[in-house]
């Protein structure tokens, strides 16, 4: 528990809620990152530019973090590139099959009390916990 950061995490979470609300109020869109990225891979007229611009905003914010808060990018877990490739493939494929990720289901979906998003969130937290249990407690924390 020594690394618990309740206040920064609460404030950061509120900013994410502000961002999702701004996307809805101004653009009428759900701030689901996996869906926004996937839409870029299959460009259609009038539905691509806003996605690219939103992702550019994510990267611009990332650059601000890199300059003003570089500790935000501490990796500090031990994973081989094979594990990272497998993890990335599962995240990419799984979020498309399940229609959303932590932002689309976890933040936006739960905020509008969507039953699909509740089931999705319970499921990915459960299997994420199972994966971490195997890695940290059966495989010694590295993979």
């Amino acid at each position: 528990m020594e690394q618990f950061t309740p206040l920064p995490s609460l404030i950061g979470g509120m900013l994410i809620g502000v961002s999702a609300s701004a996307m809805l109020l101004f653009n009428g869109k759900i701030a689901g990152i996996s869906g926004i990225v996937a839409g870029l891979l299959n460009p259609t007229k009038n539905d691509t530019l806003w996605r690219g611009v939103f992702i550019a905003g994510l990267l611009a914010g990332g650059l601000l973090l890199r300059v003003f808060s570089p500790q935000a990018f501490t990796i500090a877990i031990s994973r081989s590139w094979v594990a990272l490739v497998l993890a990335g493939m599962l995240v990419g494929f799984g979020t498309r099959l399940g229609n959303g990720c932590t932002s689309g289901h976890g933040v936006c979906g739960l905020s509008r009390f969507s039953p699909r998003s509740l089931i999705a969130t319970i499921t990915f937290v459960a299997t994420g916990a199972a994966a971490v249990y195997v890695i940290n407690h059966l495989l010694g924390g590295t993979l």
């Binding site: 528990m1 920064p8 609460l10 950061g12 979470g13 994410i16 809620g17 701004a22 996307m23 809805l24 109020l25 101004f26 653009n27 759900i30 689901g32 990152i33 996996s34 869906g35 990225v37 806003w50 611009v53 939103f54 992702i55 905003g57 994510l58 990267l59 914010g61 973090l65 990018f73 501490t74 990796i75 990272l84 993890a87 990335g88 599962l90 990419g92 494929f93 799984g94 979020t95 498309r96 099959l97 399940g98 229609n99 959303g100 932590t102 932002s103 936006c108 979906g109 905020s111 969507s114 699909r116 999705a120 499921t123 299997t127 916990a129 994966a131 971490v132 249990y133 890695i135 407690h137």
Partner: protein
């Protein structure tokens, strides 16, 4: 033009929120998922903060007939729980625990230049392409049984 500015600003706010909250650090994400180990509940605070703000504002915003800079709201309406939702979320969760990244923090962390993030995001995009290939095979009748009607599951929630 206005809508592009607001999309960009939303992206910036989103990634700053992720960075402040600690969610761009895979160690904090995996520590949240490590319920039987040295548990770090920070991610729950992120969700509480985000959902409290968005759930309140969502209700206010939806009273409007349209968004400010678009002709209509694009909001998922599906209510059904199907095997694809559960199976896809299960696979996503395994990848999330394995890599410590979900899509938002991964894309944001590209700005760090860490090679591990580049590998993860490249593989994530590969996984999204793989999904499209598999979906394309199904569309062409390779697996015609057990199909849900009219590909309704392709409509994204996010």
């Amino acid at each position: 033009m206005n809508s592009l500015f607001t999309a960009f600003a939303s992206g910036v706010i989103f990634s700053i929120g992720l960075g402040l909250s600690g969610m761009t650090q895979p160690a904090k994400v995996t520590a949240f998922l490590d319920f039987t180990g040295n548990w770090d509940p920070s991610l729950a605070c992120v969700m509480i903060g985000a959902i409290t703000v968005h759930a309140l504002l969502y209700r206010v915003i939806r009273r409007r007939p349209t968004p400010l800079f678009a002709s209509a709201f694009s909001i998922p309406t599906r209510q059904d729980i199907d095997p694809r939702l559960v199976g896809g979320s299960a696979l996503f969760g395994i990848g999330w625990g394995l890599g410590g990244f979900c899509p938002g923090p991964a894309v944001t962390s590209l700005a760090s230049g860490h090679i591990s993030v580049v590998i993860f995001v490249a593989a994530m995009i590969g996984g999204m392409y793989l999904y499209r290939v598999v979906e394309g095979l199904q569309e062409h009748g390779v697996e015609v049984r057990h199909r849900s009607p009219a590909s309704s599951w392709l409509k994204a929630d996010s």
